[in-house]
């Protein structure tokens, strides 16, 4: 849950990048880290295996200026995508304010995407969240790969609710900031709703 500090005049929010193994969650964070001004970002932490697979999480703190006199801080996390790390994935979702679900667009990964999406819903439920109520956006990553499934088809499978969605090629940065802006916007709108 967001943390509002009237004393330090700060709001802190937690955003989690979720998705199947190797879909590009860490790559999203790495690109954001590379392209953000030094004064707006903290250190990026990656708890990964020797082969650079996420073991527990990646973490990137961002400060994005003020809103109504409050500094805004967003903590971006990724979950480990590999199926057998489910216990860790569940832990990272705790206290989440917004989710980016990253889809691997390749045809051979569609089953993995669907499985990951179902797993996310289940893990959210276990924390007492409802996917219908939590702000989330979808990113169709790896659009440049030859076996990429047309967006319309993926949409039918994974986005029947019609949440904001974006095409991306994360290593080149295409769609990365658009996705981030969209989720931050949804989180802030939720904060506004909660304040009423």
């Amino acid at each position: 849950m967001s943390f509002i500090n009237y004393s330090a005049r700060e709001i802190n929010c937690k955003i989690v990048y979720y998705g199947c193994g190797l879909c590009g969650k860490t790559t999203n964070l790495q690109y954001i880290y590379e392209k953000t001004n030094p004064e707006s970002k903290g250190k990026m932490i990656s708890l990964a295996t020797e082969t650079e697979r996420t073991l527990f999480f990646d973490f990137l703190p961002l400060s994005l200026g003020e809103i109504k006199g409050f500094k805004t801080r967003f903590h971006l996390y990724t979950v480990p995508g590999q199926i057998f790390y489910d216990a860790s994935r569940k832990l990272i979702l705790k206290g989440v304010d917004g989710i980016v679900f990253v889809v691997d667009s390749q045809a051979e990964r569609m089953d993995a995407n669907i499985e990951s999406f179902e797993n996310m819903k289940e893990n959210l439920r276990e924390h007492g969240y409802d996917i219908e109520q939590i702000p989330y956006v979808i990113q169709y990553n790896k659009r440049d790969l030859p076996s990429a499934v047309p967006v319309e088809e993926i949409r039918k499978l994974l986005n029947p609710q019609g949440v904001p969605d974006f095409e991306a090629i994360a290593p080149k940065g295409i769609g990365v900031f658009e996705t981030l802006k969209a989720i931050i916007k949804l989180v802030l709108i939720e904060l506004k709703k909660g304040a009423k």
């Binding site: 200026g65 809103i67 832990l91 007492g128 909660g194």
Partner: protein, 161 residues
């Protein structure tokens, strides 16, 4: 939502800062940090400039979350204290009032026994404050909040990164 929102007010922030300052002195610690279980830094005291407090907060919360997962696996509710011993510096981590995490970093000038003793006292005082904050947060629901008036323009302005 599943968890109540944590809201920190001026008065409680001052009280917490005073407790942490006292804990640093009484336990001869290098630094003390108070972290939300979601990984957000709440307050700090002592020689904090030598540490990356944002990273420390996030890793501590991850550590507590993983340890909590382990506890459940063996049928425990939680492990309320974790201690890491280094060559020079040590970290004592404990859960306060089931919601926040108290981190004490200390070296040879202190001892585990002293830290544990002082942490216990400080924890009781902190738990009381967080209970008060939780009550305040429930009462504040529905009342005036600066965020009720956020406009699209406010949000767009944030993205000049």
């Amino acid at each position: 939502m599943a968890y109540p929102q944590l809201i920190m007010y001026e008065e409680e922030a001052r009280q917490i800062a005073a407790i942490l300052d006292k804990l640093v002195r009484d336990s001869n610690a290098k630094a003390v940090f108070l972290v939300d279980k979601d990984g957000q830094l709440i307050s700090q005291a002592g020689e904090t400039e030598n540490f990356d407090s944002t990273s420390l907060a996030s890793l501590t919360a991850g550590n507590i979350a993983a340890t909590g997962g382990l506890a459940k696996l063996i049928g425990e509710k939680e492990f309320s204290i974790i201690f890491h011993e280094g060559e020079k510096d040590n970290i004592h981590i404990s859960i306060v009032g089931q919601r926040v995490i108290l981190v004490v970093i200390f070296d040879y000038r202190s001892s585990l026994g002293l830290v544990r003793l002082r942490v216990r006292k400080a924890s009781d005082e902190l738990a009381e404050i967080f209970e008060k904050l939780a009550e305040k947060a429930i009462k504040a629901k529905g009342s005036e909040s600066p965020f009720a008036e956020i406009t699209d323009e406010d949000i767009d302005k944030l993205f000049n990164i």
